[in-house]
C-alpha cells in the first residue's frame, strides 16, 4: 500500500503538533471527568490550534499530490474546532446553540469518518487486487480468505445486501463450502461497502456511547457550606418616626401665615424579611447547609429521558430564572447555569455527594429502561435524592409520570401533599397551590417514605411560570411559583444535609 509520508524537514513541527494534540486529548478527557480546568484554559488551548492548522495547511496547499494530507489536516482541525466551539458556547451560556452544534458536529464527524473508511477500503482493495493479480494461481489454491479488506474474502460470496437470510444462514452453517453460495452475477463490492458501513456505524455508536458514559465517571455535587434555620420567612415591619421641625408661633401675633399641623409626625414603614440571611440547615456560618462545603453550590439539574421533550424551558430564560431566584431569596451560593444529566449519569455521583434534587418535565412520553428505573430508585432511596416532577403540558404526561413512579417506587403510593406540610411552609408559606394550566389536576402529589418526600409532582406547568414572560400569568401567580420552587429546592437540600449530619454522627 502507498503510505502517506511527511517530509523530514517537518519533524519539529510534527513533534509540536503531536504534543499539542496529546494535551488537547488529555484536556478533553478532563472535561468529561474531573472538570478542574476552567473553561478559559480550554479556550486558550483551542485558539492555539489555529496557527498550527494554518501552518500545516500552507505546507500542503500547493502541491496537487498532497490532497490526502490536506484532508488529514481538515479532519483534525474539524474535531479540535468543533470542541473549541462547544467550549466557547458553553462559556457564553448559549445552551440551545451548543446543543445544536454538538448534534450537528457528531453527524459531521460520522460523515467524515465514513469518507475515510470508504477511502481506506478502496485503497486496500486496490492493494489486494494487485497482489492477487501478481500471484493469481497461488491465491486461488489456498484456503478461504477472511480479511474483509480483500474483495476476494470468502464471505463476500454471500449476498449481504439486499439482505437474504437463507444464503447467509447456509453460509454460517458451513462457511467453507462454496457450493452453498448463491450463483449468478452479483457485486462483491456492494457487499463489502454494506459490511463496512454496518461495522463502521456500530463502532461509531459504541465509541459514542463509551464517550458519553465517560461524562462523569466521577462527578460530585456539593451543597454550599453554612447553616441557618428551617423557619418560615417572617415579614416584620420596621417603624421609623420622622419628626419635622415645627414653628412655635403665637396665635395672637399680627403676622399671618399658614399654621402647620401640630402633630406632624410621619411614620416610615419598611417591610423587611426577618430571616433573609439565615435560611439553611445546621450550625455553620452564613446561609447554607452544615453538610455542605465551601466550594459547594446549589445546582439545578434536570433529567434527560427518552420519549419526550425533557428540555422544555431549559437554560437561560427558563429554569435558570428559578435557580437565580433561589440564590437571591435564600442567599445560598448557586451555580451560574442549570445542567442536565441522563438518568444513567446519576450513577456517577457517589453516595453523600449526589444531587439532593433533580428536576423532570415534559409533555410527551417517558420511556425508561429497567436499568434506568433501578438507577432512579437507588438515587431516591439509597442516595437520599429527591425528584421534582413538573407537568409541562398534557394529561398524558401526568399518566406517564405516575406510571413511571409506580415502577420506580412500587411500594409507595402518591398522595396529595398537604398545604401545611413543611415543603409548603418553609421558607415560604404557600396558602394555595398556584399553577399555569391544570394539565394534571390541581393538587401537588408526593411520594412519602422514611419520614421525607422522595418526589414532588406539580401538575400545572410550574416551569412555564419560571420562564421569561411567565406564560402570561399574573405576578402573584408566578411569584408563588418561584416560592414553591424555592421551597422544594430548599427542602431537598436541607433533608440531604440532615442525612449527611446523621451519617457523620453514626
Amino acid at each position: 500500500m502507498n503510505s502517506i509520508s511527511v517530509p523530514g524537514r517537518y519533524s519539529t513541527a510534527v513533534k509540536i503538533t503531536a504534543g499539542y494534540l496529546l494535551v488537547w486529548a488529555l484536556l478533553l478527557l478532563e472535561t468529561r471527568t474531573l472538570q478542574m480546568v476552567p473553561n478559559w484554559g480550554h479556550l486558550v488551548l483551542g485558539l492555539l490550534s489555529i496557527p498550527l492548522a494554518v501552518y500545516w495547511w500552507k505546507q500542503f496547499s500547493r502541491a496537487r499530490n498532497q490532497q490526502i494530507q490536506r484532508w488529514i489536516i481538515g479532519t483534525v482541525a474539524f474535531v479540535v474546532w468543533w470542541q473549541f466551539t462547544l467550549v466557547l458556547l458553553d462559556s457564553l451560556v448559549m445552551d440551545a446553540a451548543r446543543a445544536n452544534i454538538a448534534r450537528w458536529g457528531t453527524a459531521g464527524l460520522f460523515l467524515i469518518g465514513l469518507l475515510w473508511v470508504v477511502w481506506g477500503i478502496e485503497r486496500a482493495s486496490v492493494h489486494y487486487k494487485k497482489l492477487a493479480s501478481n500471484h493469481g494461481a497461488v491465491t486461488t489454491a489456498t484456503a478461504p480468505i477472511w480479511n474483509p479488506l480483500n474483495l476476494d474474502a470468502s464471505f463476500y460470496a454471500v449476498q449481504w445486501w439486499p439482505l437474504r437470510p437463507a444464503p447467509i444462514l447456509r453460509y454460517l452453517r458451513s462457511p467453507g463450502n462454496p457450493n452453498l453460495l448463491p450463483h449468478g452475477p452479483r457485486s462483491r463490492k456492494l457487499d463489502q461497502s454494506f459490511f463496512a458501513l454496518v461495522t463502521y456505524t456500530a463502532a461509531f455508536l459504541l465509541l459514542a456511547l463509551l464517550f458519553s458514559q465517560l461524562g462523569g465517571c466521577r462527578e460530585i455535587y456539593e451543597m454550599p457550606a453554612g447553616g441557618g434555620e428551617q423557619q418560615q420567612l417572617a415579614q416584620v415591619v420596621k417603624i421609623k418616626k420622622v419628626i419635622r421641625k415645627k414653628y412655635i408661633i403665637n396665635p395672637l401675633s399680627s403676622v399671618i401665615f399658614a399654621v402647620p399641623p401640630i402633630d406632624d409626625v410621619q411614620l416610615e414603614l419598611t417591610e423587611i424579611t426577618k430571616h433573609a440571611y439565615q435560611i439553611g440547615q445546621g450550625e455553620g456560618k452564613g446561609a447554607g447547609f452544615s453538610g455542605g462545603t465551601f466550594r459547594g453550590k446549589v445546582r439545578f439539574i434536570r433529567l434527560e429521558y427518552s420519549g419526550g421533550d425533557w428540555d422544555q424551558d431549559y437554560g437561560v430564560g427558563g429554569d435558570l430564572n428559578m435557580l437565580l431566584e433561589y440564590g437571591i431569596r435564600t442567599q445560598h451560593k448557586v451555580a451560574e447555569r442549570t445542567e442536565s444529566r441522563t438518568i444513567g449519569q446519576l450513577n456517577n455521583f457517589p453516595l453523600g455527594k449526589s444531587p439532593p434534587l433533580v428536576y423532570m418535565t415534559g409533555q410527551r412520553n417517558i420511556s425508561l429502561s429497567n436499568s434506568e428505573v433501578k438507577t432512579l430508585r437507588e438515587y431516591l432511596t439509597d442516595k437520599h435524592g429527591m425528584l421534582f416532577g413538573d407537568n409541562g403540558g398534557s394529561r398524558h404526561f401526568h399518566n406517564q409520570f405516575l406510571s413511571m413512579m409506580n415502577r420506580v417506587l412500587p411500594d409507595v403510593k402518591p398522595v396529595p401533599i398537604p398545604l401545611d406540610d413543611v415543603i409548603h411552609r418553609i421558607p415560604y408559606q404557600i396558602p394555595f397551590l398556584p399553577y399555569v394550566a391544570p394539565h394534571g389536576g390541581k393538587e401537588a402529589l408526593g411520594w412519602y417514605k422514611d419520614g421525607r418526600w422522595l418526589a414532588y409532582y406539580h401538575p400545572g406547568d410550574i416551569g412555564d411560570a419560571w420562564s421569561d414572560g411567565h406564560a402570561g400569568v399574573s405576578a402573584d401567580i408566578w411569584e408563588s411559583c418561584y416560592r414553591i420552587g424555592t421551597n422544594v429546592t430548599f427542602y431537598a437540600h436541607s433533608e440531604y444535609s440532615k442525612w449527611l449530619d446523621a451519617q457523620k454522627k453514626d
Binding site: 411500594d411 396529595p416 398556584p434 394550566a437 390541581k442 411560570a465 402570561g472 400569568v473
Partner: protein, 542 residues
C-alpha cells in the same frame, strides 16, 4: 396465564374499590351527631351549629370551619364542643391542611374530651389522615390503637379496613390476612359495619383459597353467605386462586387438593331428597358448580362425565346444553358448541347463540344465514334480527349490504326511524362515503352529535369552511361541547394549513375556557407546535 392473573388483579382491585367506597360512605356516620345529643343543646347552640352544618353540607369548608370555630369560642363548655372541633378538623382536611387538622383538631378532641364518642372518631381520623398524607408508619400505629381499643365500634372497623389497605400497599400479606380475619370473624356486624365485614370475608376467602386452606375459606364465606349462595360464592371466590395454582407445576398438587375439597364440599351440600322443583334446581346448580371447579382444575374427562351424569339425573334442558356448549367453546371446538346450541328447546335463543358463534369465527355467510333463519321463525322481532344482520355486515366491512338493511329498517320500523337513519349515516362514514354520510347525518335529530359527525366528514373532504361552521354551531348551541368544538376548529384550520386561523382558534379556547381540559390541550399544542405561550390565567388551587 397472564389473562387469568389479570382477571384476578381486576377482581381484587374491584373488591378494594368496593371496600374503599363503602368506607367513604360509612365515615359520614362517624361524624354525625345523635338526636339525643342534639336535643340536649340550648337553642342558641343549636342555631350556631345549624349554621355551621349548613356550610359543611354545602362543602364550603372555609366558612364552615369559621362557624365551628365560632361555636367553640362561644360555647366551649357545650356538650357539642367536641363535635364542633371534630367537624372543624374535617374542614381542615378538606382544605388540605391535614397537619393542622391532626395537631390542632383531632388530637385536641382526644385530649380534651377523651370519653366522648367524638374522641373515638377523632382517633380514627388521626390514623386515616396520616395514611392519606403518606405517613404510613405513624398511621399504622394510630390505626392499630383504634382497632384494638374499639374493635366493636364503627371507628375500629374502619381502622381495620385502613390497616388492610396499608398492608396491601406495602405487600404485607401476613398483616393483611390477620386484619381480614379480625374483620371477618371478630368484628361486630351491625347495620353500619356489615358491608366492610362482608367485603373482608370475600377478600379473606380468596387469600385462603390461594393457600389451599379450603375449610377456612369456606368458613370465612359462611360468616356472610349461607346455603345455595354460599356454594356459588365458594366457587366464585376459589376460581381464580385455583386457576393460578394450576398454572404452576409446583403448586399443581395443592390445586388438586383444593379442587377435591371444593367438590367434596359441594357434594355434601346436595339435598337428600330431590322431590320438589326447588331441591332439583339446587341439586342441578350444585352439579354445575362442580363442573365449574373441574374446569378450573383442568379435568376434561371428569367434566364430560359430570355432564353425562347431570343429563341422566335431571334430563337434557337448555341450561345444561348451554353449559356443554360453553365448555366446547372454551376448548376451541365451536362446531360442537353450535351443535349443542342447535338442540335448544328455545330455538330462537339457540340460533342467536349460533349466530354469535359464527360472528366470532368471522364467518359472514353462516352468520347472515342464521339471522335469516331467525327472521323466518321469529316474525315478532324482525327489526332486531335485521339490525343484528346489518351489524354483522358492518363488522365484515360489507357496507352496502348493511346500508340496504338499515334503509329497509327505516321504512319498516318507523318508530325508530331516527335510529336507523343514524346507523345508515355511521355506516356510510365507516365506508368512507363522506358525502352520503353528511346527507344522512343532516336528517338526524341528534344534536350536537350529528353536527359533530358532519363536521368530521367535511374535514375528510377538506371542506374547511363547512366544518368550521358546524363546529361554531355546536359551540353556540351546546355550552358543554363548546370548548371541544372550538379546539376542533383549531385542528381543522391546521389541517387546512391556515396556521394563523388555527392559532387564533387555539388562543380563543385558552381565553374563553381557561379552566377546561381542552384549554389545557390547546395551551400545550400552541406551546409545542408553534412555540407560543398563552396564559390560561394561571390559577390558584380551588
Amino acid at each position: 396465564m397472564v389473562g387469568r392473573t389479570k382477571e384476578r388483579l381486576i377482581l381484587i382491585a374491584l373488591l378494594c374499590f368496593a371496600f374503599a367506597h363503602t368506607c367513604t360512605a360509612q365515615t359520614t356516620y362517624l361524624h354525625q351527631m345523635s338526636l339525643d345529643r342534639w336535643a340536649k343543646l340550648r337553642e342558641v347552640e343549636r342555631h350556631q351549629m345549624k349554621v355551621a352544618e349548613k356550610y359543611f353540607q354545602d362543602r364550603n369548608w372555609s366558612v364552615a370551619a369559621d362557624e365551628y370555630d365560632k361555636y367553640l369560642t362561644l360555647y366551649e363548655a357545650s356538650d357539642a364542643a367536641s363535635h364542633a372541633l371534630l367537624k372543624w378538623s374535617i374542614c381542615q382536611v378538606e382544605m388540605r391542611r391535614q397537619n393542622t387538622a391532626i395537631n390542632d383538631g383531632f388530637r385536641s378532641v382526644v385530649d380534651y374530651w377523651p370519653d366522648s364518642d367524638d374522641a373515638i372518631a377523632a382517633s380514627y381520623y388521626v390514623g386515616k389522615t396520616l395514611k392519606d398524607i403518606g405517613q404510613t408508619q405513624k398511621a399504622k400505629s394510630a390505626l392499630n390503637e383504634v382497632a384494638t381499643d374499639h374493635a366493636k365500634h364503627l371507628a375500629g372497623v374502619l381502622a381495620m379496613v385502613a390497616l388492610a389497605d396499608i398492608a396491601t400497599i406495602e405487600k404485607d400479606e401476613d398483616l393483611k390476612e390477620k386484619i381480614l380475619r379480625q374483620l371477618t370473624f371478630d368484628a361486630l356486624r351491625d347495620k353500619l359495619t356489615r358491608r366492610q365485614c362482608e367485603t373482608a370475608s370475600l377478600q379473606l376467602a380468596s387469600i385462603l383459597f390461594s393457600k389451599a386452606a379450603t375449610a377456612e375459606g369456606i368458613k370465612a364465606l359462611n360468616t356472610t353467605y349461607q346455603n345455595e349462595r354460599l356454594a356459588s360464592e365458594v366457587v366464585s371466590q376459589s376460581r381464580s386462586p385455583l386457576q393460578t395454582l394450576m398454572n404452576d407445576n409446583e403448586s399443581k398438587s395443592k390445586a388438586n387438593a383444593l379442587a377435591n375439597e371444593l367438590i367434596g364440599f359441594l357434594r355434601a351440600q346436595e339435598p337428600k331428597t330431590t322431590t320438589n322443583d326447588e331441591d332439583i334446581s339446587y341439586a342441578k346448580n350444585l352439579c354445575f358448580l362442580v363442573i365449574d371447579v373441574l374446569r378450573s382444575a383442568r379435568r376434561p374427562a371428569e367434566v364430560e362425565k359430570e355432564f353425562s351424569s347431570v343429563a341422566k339425573r335431571f334430563g337434557t334442558d337448555d341450561q345444561l346444553l348451554k353449559q356443554i356448549a360453553n365448555w366446547h367453546a372454551a376448548n376451541g371446538d365451536s362446531g360442537k358448541a353450535r351443535q349443542a346450541y342447535g338442540k335448544f328447546k328455545d330455538q330462537i335463543a339457540g340460533l342467536q347463540l349460533i349466530a354469535t358463534s359464527y360472528r366470532q369465527e368471522k364467518n359472514l355467510a353462516q352468520t347472515t344465514q342464521t339471522y335469516n333463519r331467525l327472521l323466518a321463525i321469529d316474525p315478532d322481532n324482525q327489526a332486531q334480527w335485521k339490525a343484528e344482520s346489518a351489524g354483522a355486515y358492518r363488522e365484515f366491512k360489507k357496507y352496502n349490504d348493511a346500508i340496504a338493511l338499515y334503509q329497509q329498517l327505516g321504512q319498516e320500523d318507523a318508530a325508530n326511524a331516527d335510529r336507523w337513519l343514524w346507523e345508515t349515516a355511521m355506516t356510510h362514514k365507516e365506508a368512507g362515503n363522506w358525502k352520503e354520510a353528511i346527507g344522512f347525518f343532516r336528517q338526524s335529530e341528534r344534536f350536537p352529535e350529528s353536527y359533530w359527525e358532519m363536521a368530521s366528514c367535511h374535514r375528510q373532504l377538506k371542506q374547511t369552511n363547512e366544518a368550521v361552521t358546524l363546529y361554531n354551531q355546536i359551540a353556540g348551541g351546546d355550552k358543554n361541547r363548546a370548548p371541544a368544538a372550538m379546539l376542533q376548529i383549531g385542528y381543522t384550520q391546521e389541517e387546512a394549513k391556515s396556521s394563523d386561523k388555527a392559532i387564533t382558534a387555539f388562543k380563543k379556547v385558552c381565553r374563553l375556557f381557561p379552566k377546561d381540559q381542552h384549554a389545557s390541550r390547546a395551551h400545550a399544542h400552541l406551546q409545542s407546535k408553534y412555540k407560543i405561550t398563552v396564559t390560561l390565567g394561571g390559577a390558584k388551587q380551588d
